[in-house]
Subunit: 96 residues, 2 copies
């Protein structure tokens, strides 16, 4: 089972993840992605869905036309774990 | 261009759409769908995305594991129009 990261480990990981921010209210990490239109946004979501399924770790996310907002948290650990960082890294590769 | 429905027309349409509710704050119509798991939820979203693209009318929606929340509104009309009712009907067929 994934353990909640220390503040220092989490912040170090976030430095490598452009645009991802820590949200203390989650606690979670979050990023908003913008695309050219709905088709591009949903194409991105489909790829993220496959990555999430492979990782057996799923985002809380929303979409409005060309915008996708992704929040990652490990509910069973009550915060941000290595699983969230790994999924964020996978999402960055997809978006990249 | 789609015009905002009268309250009476909107309420009559909602009577035929099980589980959809009017949200005055949008103003919009909204329904929450529950599935067996993430795979089923995202499979549903993929079908809704295609229907939305075909209609050139797009939902504001969110997903958390097995739950999909869909909000429909016609921003250019400032409320609920026939386009929202038609997309809700298409979504019901997909969910059905």
């Amino acid at each position: 089972m994934a353990n909640k990261l220390s503040d220092a480990d989490r912040d170090a990981a976030l430095k490598r993840l452009t645009g991802w921010r820590y949200e203390p209210d989650g606690p979670a990490i979050r990023k908003v992605f913008k695309f050219k239109g709905f088709s591009e946004a949903f194409g991105f979501m489909a790829q993220v869905a496959l990555a999430a399924q492979k990782a057996d770790h799923h985002p809380d996310w929303s979409n409005s036309y060309n915008t996708v907002s992704i929040t990652l948290s490990t509910h069973t650990a009550g915060g941000v774990t290595e699983k969230d960082i790994a999924l964020a890294e996978a999402i960055e590769k997809i978006a990249g």
